[in-house]
């Protein structure tokens, strides 16, 4: 991992077109400003991880859980949906 020191107001350039700027430092918290082209997505790491974990869990449904969902749906689904 590359480790660099920056002061408030200073930036980094990643590649040719991604800029990361230190906007503010308050105690333990650093506020960053990001400029990136639209083909680059920027997301907090913990959020990305939470989504990935949920995806992995979703990809392994057990037969029992599917049966349970099916029965729950039959209870909640309005009658009008059965008219055909």
């Amino acid at each position: 991992m590359l480790v660099l020191s920056r002061k408030v107001g200073q930036s980094l350039i990643i590649g040719n077109n991604i800029r990361v700027k230190v906007v503010e430092i308050r105690g333990q918290q650093v506020r960053l400003g990001l400029e990136a082209p639209s083909d680059v997505t920027v997301v907090r790491e913990e959020l990305h991880k939470a989504v990935a974990d949920a995806n992995v869990q979703a990809a392994k449904p057990s037969d029992a859980s599917i049966a349970s969902l099916a029965s729950a749906l039959r209870k909640t689904r309005p009658k009008k949906d059965d008219d055909k």
């Binding site: 989504v51 949920a54 979703a58 990809a59 859980s65 009008k80």
Partner: protein, 162 residues
């Protein structure tokens, strides 16, 4: 920006003459090796669908039309989302949310990171929304389905709905 036209998933089939591969160029977080997916419909299961991997079988996700899970779901789709899908801003997209089933019978739906599929390009992306009020694990079964999701009315009057 919130003018996305959300349309019925069936359009993905009808307009493509049976070709139903949806390509997630960037992969889906945690499942990056699976890029090409196929939407599998089952009348009994509606408003749920299976999204089946064409690259990594038997990888399958259960997805749901979000309006069946929650009222007033309006994810903010930025211009960048459309650009990454190779589609015109505001063009027709289909939105699904991934359902997680747990062994104890609970079902949650991921409203924070919907799957957005362009009808034009058949490319998809799991968009992680900036809007923090949509949870990753929204309890589905306890809350029951909304009336919206079980009806048959199209959600918009876009060209795809004709």
């Amino acid at each position: 920006m919130n003018r996305s036209a959300t349309i019925e998933p069936e359009v993905l089939h009808k307009e493509r003459g049976g070709t139903t591969a949806i390509v997630f160029d960037r992969g889906i977080p945690g499942l990056e090796d699976a890029r090409r997916w196929e939407l599998v419909e089952n009348e009994e299961l509606r408003p749920f669908y299976w999204l089946r991997s064409l690259d990594q079988q038997p990888l399958t996700l259960l997805v749901v039309e979000p309006r069946a899970a929650v009222r007033g779901y309006r994810p903010d789709l930025t211009r960048g989302v459309y650009e990454r899908l190779g589609a015109a801003p505001g063009s027709d997209v289909v939105i699904f949310c991934i359902v997680t089933l747990t062994a104890d019978g609970a079902a949650t739906v991921n409203l924070r990171a919907p799957l957005v599929v362009s009808c034009e390009t058949m490319r998809g992306e799991q968009v992680i929304l900036e809007q923090p009020h949509w949870p990753i694990r929204h309890r589905l079964v306890e809350a029951g389905l909304t009336d919206e999701g079980t009806g048959r009315s199209p959600q918009c009057s876009s060209s795809a709905a004709k």
